[in-house]
Amino acid sequence: MRKRFTATILAVTLAAAGLVGCGTPQSSESTTAAATTAAAAAEAAEGGSESEAAAETEASDGEITITYAQTSDVTSLDPRNATSTISAAMISQVFSTLIRTDADYNLVLDAAESYEVIDDTTYKFTLRKGIKFHDGEELTSEDVKYTLDTIRDENATYSLKSDFSFMYCEPIDDYNLYIKTDEPNSSTLLRLNYIKIIPKHYVEEVGDEEFNLHPIGSGPYKFVSWDTDEAITLEAFDDYFGGRPPVDRLVCKVIPEASARIAALEAGEVDLIGAVTTGQMERLQSLDNIEVVSRPSTRTAYFTMNTFGDSPVTDVRVRKAINMAIDRETIVQGVLDGYAQAVSSLALPIFEGFDDSIPTYEYDPEGAKALLAEAGYPDGFDIEMEGSFSGLSNASDVAQAVAAQLAEVGINVTIVEKDSDTLRDEYQAHTTSPLTFFSFGGPYNDINLITKCVLGTGERYSAWSDQEFEDLLHTMQSTVSGDKQAGYTAMQQYIYDNAPVVPLYQTYSICAYNKDKIAEWNVRTDEMLMGFDVVPVK
């Protein structure tokens, strides 16, 4: 399992990843985009009651439409502002990148045809020739440079700035370029997966605001329309360099309520849904035409412990005791119905550098009690727990179940629900509760990122500060070649020894689709829900 993800960069040809060349090449009805969109959206919505009607439409013009449902709307279609996973997933279908992650979180080549590592801060990339943007212009090194330059621009405030401005691009010619970093950074390639290449000529011509509303990329799908809070429509791009995708039209609807998403799937209003809650699984699995699919994601749910105050958790023995008092397996089985992986480390097995030889905290209530007594709390203590429970499914149930388990060893927990902005302010002011429930994940999560953000001094979700940890973090981040594993292992051991955090479980992404419409589709590890790799039923 170890190093599963490592630098095994497969020089995969693009035809592979999802876009299997079986696409039934239909001559796409030359539909004038804007005009048909409203009609299509109306059809799609009405289709709730008459899904046959939708099927008829399909049969008549032979167009395959796949409709899928997200929990909320995208916030931006400009890749440079796409921090939410939902926005990033939408954008990934419209734009291409030098290198991207496949459904299994392996890095695969995308717009680049090959790359080599020149030194710790320099990568040389060669672009495929003849990649077209949706307006027919060719994608060149200049576009890559423009993308990274604007993100790095000191006067600009693109959301990607802080995580990505350590990189810049030096074109060699139209198809060859260097990606350089200010300092050695072992996450560079993974981060590049998030840099969607934007068309310089178009953005400069129409400006950022217009680009955000009518984006043009070089990905498998062309943008058609965006009805805010309601639906986004995409259309297959005939000249996509990876081959025209088999689905002609993708409609992404916004349905925030979990039950409403299920109902919409059952009624045939949508063909594919994400964020299925575990409570719904039984019902969905009992339905003949519905396939439920799940897999572990890059997200970890955990508690941070505020070590700045004067609460009992400033004592490392108490922190260890809390780690030992929680029966993660029972929570996973009992509350989450098995749809999660119990973990006691921030480093997930899918991450590069995960070391399974590091010990973990096993469930040991007696040991926990002994440690508490040793720390001077033989009768336990009262403690506050807080969290924002809206973002993660079953989160409030998990918090309540953990509270019940902690009560068993004498730690009486009061749970306070806060909104996530309040929590962020509290992290900044070091005033979070002794226990704070949080989760961290996303499309470019790795050991570097999660340990930095959750435990680094002054970081946004951190309630801990430790110089030795900072040194380890720096070593780990800046080792690009050579013995990378030593740094990763040292970090994992250090976190185990000091127990500044209570990891609980790795979440699962649970999705469901309509087998009458979709023949094959895989859940992605990085939490992104996309329809571009759907294999439709013919």
Partner: protein, 305 residues
């Protein structure tokens, strides 16, 4: 009358100004949107730098003045969540909310007025009892719960209506009913009592004595007189519809400003919140102003104090 209206208009403007102050102050106490503008992984230094740059460290009076003068010029700032002008973000959701509000007002009037009249005219009949019970129940059921139950029944079990969204007329049925049920119940009850009260007055007896047919009496005299009280209630219901739209739109994923408001508050997208609150307040104040004017027209003897 003109003098009264001018005075009333002046009061309305003060109310709107007061609202902007309250909203601005409260949002400022709540925090600032800077954390939202940066990615999840930005450090505290970066946040502080941006805060300074955007003027969130200025004295609050300066910030308020800047906000107000920009607003008067039609500039409501940027939505941080969408990276677009707040006005654009809000404006494109207004049609959905207006559609829903009109539809539910239609439900309210189409159910409330006939039910109220019938109930009053057929006082103490079985029909009256049924209407009264339903109206009472309508005031007791949590609207969002009814919405969920309707969704369960009509969309999931019977599959006759779409679960959510805003693209067809059938999608409008459940949200409009959910939003309108409380107001419809209220209007039915109010109309019934005011009509009964008026019908017991002497001039109705006089009219009856003159030989007019019963229904005409009811319609012409009683209803006209009861109308002024109904008007006042409708004015007040606008507030309940606007407030209720927040919950209804959330339940039914209706892409209107109510749902945007909840999202924006959760995201600290302050410019959008400010704009929506002001917009709702202005609509409410305007509707009540119009109601007052109509009130004067219908019933010139009763000038409001």
């Amino acid at each position: 009358m003109t003098k009264y209206l001018v005075k009333r208009l002046f009061q309305s403007l003060i109310a709107v100004l007061g609202i902007t102050i309250v909203v601005f102050l409260v949002l400022n106490i709540a925090g600032d949107p800077v954390t939202l503008m940066l990615p999840e992984t930005a450090s505290f230094e970066e946040i502080e730098a941006l805060r300074e740059k955007l003027g969130y460290n200025d004295p609050i009076l300066i910030q308020y003045w800047r906000f107000l003068s920009n607003a008067l010029h039609g500039d409501f700032g940027m939505s941080y969540n969408y990276n677009r002008p707040a006005w654009d973000v809000v404006a494109e959701r207004i049609p959905a909310t207006v559609t829903l509000a009109l539809a539910s007002m239609g439900v309210v009037l189409a159910i409330g007025i006939p039910a109220g009249i019938i109930s009053a005219v057929k006082r103490n009949s079985v029909l009256d009892a049924v209407i009264r019970s339903l109206a009472l129940l309508g005031q007791c059921v949590p609207a969002f719960w009814m919405g969920i139950m309707m969704m369960l029944l009509f969309a999931v079990k019977l599959k006759v209506l779409p679960t959510s969204g805003f693209a067809s007329w059938s999608a409008l049925v459940m949200p409009a009913c959910t939003l309108g049920v409380f107001s419809a119940a209220t209007i039915t009850r109010m109309l019934r009592s005011s009509m009964i009260e008026i019908m017991s007055k002497e001039y109705i007896d006089v009219a009856k004595a003159k030989g007019l047919y019963g229904y005409v009496v009811v319609m012409k005299h009683a209803f006209k007189n009861a109308l002024s009280s109904v008007l006042t209630i409708i004015g007040l219901q606008v507030s309940s519809l606007l407030g209720g739209s927040v919950i209804t739109e959330t339940v039914f994923a209706w892409p209107g400003i109510g749902r945007l408001l909840v999202q924006s508050i959760n995201n600290s997208d302050f410019m959008v919140v400010e704009l929506i609150v002001m917009l709702m307040a202005v609509v409410f104040v305007a509707v009540n102003f119009i109601v007052d004017v109509l009130y004067c027209v219908i019933n010139p003897r009763v000038r409001l104090q």
